[in-house]
């Protein structure tokens, strides 16, 4: 698996920097069964109320999206940027948002968010001591309308 390959949000492949993240439960299941649930919906429209509804496939959703980021997703950089900058499509509650950096050693390193300059911008200085390797920046934000969203941005430092 390449370092910038996106996997399920709460999953990590063995040997991957994501592996140490405590996995949250997820709803993946053999697709045939989920599909049966999907079929149950229309075909058993009359029955949904009586019990078939839980069979529906329901990927969850939220709506704070990253419009742009530094570093860019999948970027291969010669040196670490001075700070990470994420621009969202929503106003963000900075006091209740977090960024964590996972390095090649898989250890989580919380990043202190910079003071708010723009309601849709979340920034955090990066440590000056980052070495070469694959990194994962995990962000979690609270939009001011109360929606919680998280995501990962992977990037690689080639070393100086």
């Amino acid at each position: 698996m390449s370092e910038h390959e996106i996997t399920a949000p709460d999953e990590a492949a063995p040997g991957d920097p994501r592996q140490q993240e405590p996995a949250l439960p997820h709803t993946s299941r053999p697709r045939r069964r989920a599909a049966l649930g999907a079929l149950a919906a229309p075909l058993l429209a009359p029955l949904l109320a009586l019990g078939a509804a839980p069979l529906l496939p329901r990927p969850a959703a939220a709506h704070a999206l990253v419009l742009s980021s530094t570093p860019a997703p999948g970027a291969r950089l010669g040196a670490a940027p001075a700070k990470v900058v994420l621009r969202f499509n929503s106003r963000i509650d900075h006091g209740r948002s977090r960024m964590t950096l996972f390095g090649p050693d898989n250890q989580p390193q919380p990043l202190a968010l910079a003071p708010e300059t723009d309601p849709a911008l979340v920034e955090a200085p990066l440590p000056a001591t980052l070495g070469a390797g694959s990194f994962r920046l995990r962000w979690q934000v609270l939009a001011v309308d109360g929606h919680i969203t998280r995501g990962d941005i992977f990037f690689t430092l080639a070393g100086r």
Binding site: L24, L39, L55, L65
Partner: protein, 552 residues
Amino acid sequence: MESLLDLYGFASVVLQALLLLARTVLLGSVVFWTLLVVPLGAAMPGAAHQLSGTARRLVLGAGLATLGLTFLAAALAVLALAATLNTGLGAVLGADFVRAALGAMAATVLLLLLARADGALEPLRRFGLLAAAATLLAAAVAGSHAMARTEGRGMLMAATFVHQVGAALWIGGLPALWLGFRLPERAARAVGQRYSPFAMAGVGLILLGALGFWLGYIGGVPAVYGTAYGAMAGTKMILLGLLLALGGANYLLLHRLESVPSGLLRVKRFVESEMALGVAVLAIAGSLTSVPPAADLLEDRVTWHEVVERFTPGTPRLTSPSHEDLAIPAMQAQLDAEWQAAQQRAAERPQAFTPGEGLLPPRNAQDIAWSEYNHNWSGIVVLLVGLAALLDASRKVPFTRHWPLLFLGLFLFLFIRSDPEVWPLGEIGLFASLRDPEVVQHKLAALLVLGFALAEWAVRLGKLTGRYRYVFPLSMLAGGALLLAHTHAIANFKELLLVELSHLPLAICALVGGCARVIELRGPDVLARRAAWVWPACLVIIGSFLLIYREA
């Protein structure tokens, strides 16, 4: 706590839908009580007194529901946030959405206190009720999508406010109006006539709000079919069109065609259908709160070509998929290529998820083939049911009144086919398989089909009467609403959206069919005769869609 996070995405959508419903009825009932019933008192004091009690009880009931649901929705978000931040509740309680929820709860409590006392509604209490209702709505807007927008926030907040005022004036007042039809005919007609201006103003405000949403959240026609937000908003507009048709018919019956036989009864039936469709519209609105606006998703949209391709009828898959099927490896190769391409695209764009959310695994040709096989066979059964019910409506083929027995075929299909690894097809014994909750779900669904078929058959034979007759239409209505209320992919997972697009027409047909069957059961005869053709036609359409259903 992990269970809470796993539940968070879906539970928040369900709570939002229920909260919207409760709040809309609350606000509509307040308006009905203060601005319709009170003035009615000058002309019809007896009717107004009776209706005042009805409206007050509605305000109390909907108020309590609003209060409880606001608390639950906020509590769920607070717990999820505290869990994901790994912090105490105190650090979370100052968030904007919590303050908005507290404001809404305070306004609701004030409404409840003002509605608590029975008796005449003096001017000060009327003003207090309306002011508290406006405060509640303002607090709701403060916790809406619009509040978090970076551009056009003022316009979108105003659009949200007027849209919800419109929904309250029209949809929210329907339960009170419906209960008002219990009055003697002259008074009931007067109530209906006085309700019309509120409904019309409601329509205008809903459309005005929708215009703001179009400008701020959607932005163009390709977004309507290309994104989950757009598709749901489009479905909402279709349902709004149906609601307008019903409302227009009511207006004519109340104001222009007063001498039509059983006119008021027709209005009552249409109002019942309006309420059912209104619930579905609010279910969609609740669902919409969970997806990013279409305007923010400019990439990876479903194209018109893909929609046409997916809806172009093909040969139904009526044979069991097997590893020997040469089409399967070919499809798998294509899916693998698509997955790789999607992964590549995803790596170049930031992804975003709700905590606890899982991704569907890569698509598997065998699974798709099974799904299509299941849908297509089910389509045959539903199509046959619809055709038999149409023949039954003609009253010319007596044995077709046994059409519910066709559902037995569906029962057998589900019972046997849902889990091929389990008896009778697989090696796992039936009792051993029941340790798997999914198998239990599937078997229960199959048994429900069986019970449903037998019950409806008994209704057809006249052996079951009374409320049992409504099991079939109410289930159709609930099924349609639930299909509309489920959550959606945050980003444009094309395949999920294409599946969703193929389910939306089914939901609309289920809603229309359910309403028609209720009208057929409740009369008057002139409507029942027409409605008897409508719901079988809806089943024929559902069956046809299922028959041509494809996932690749």
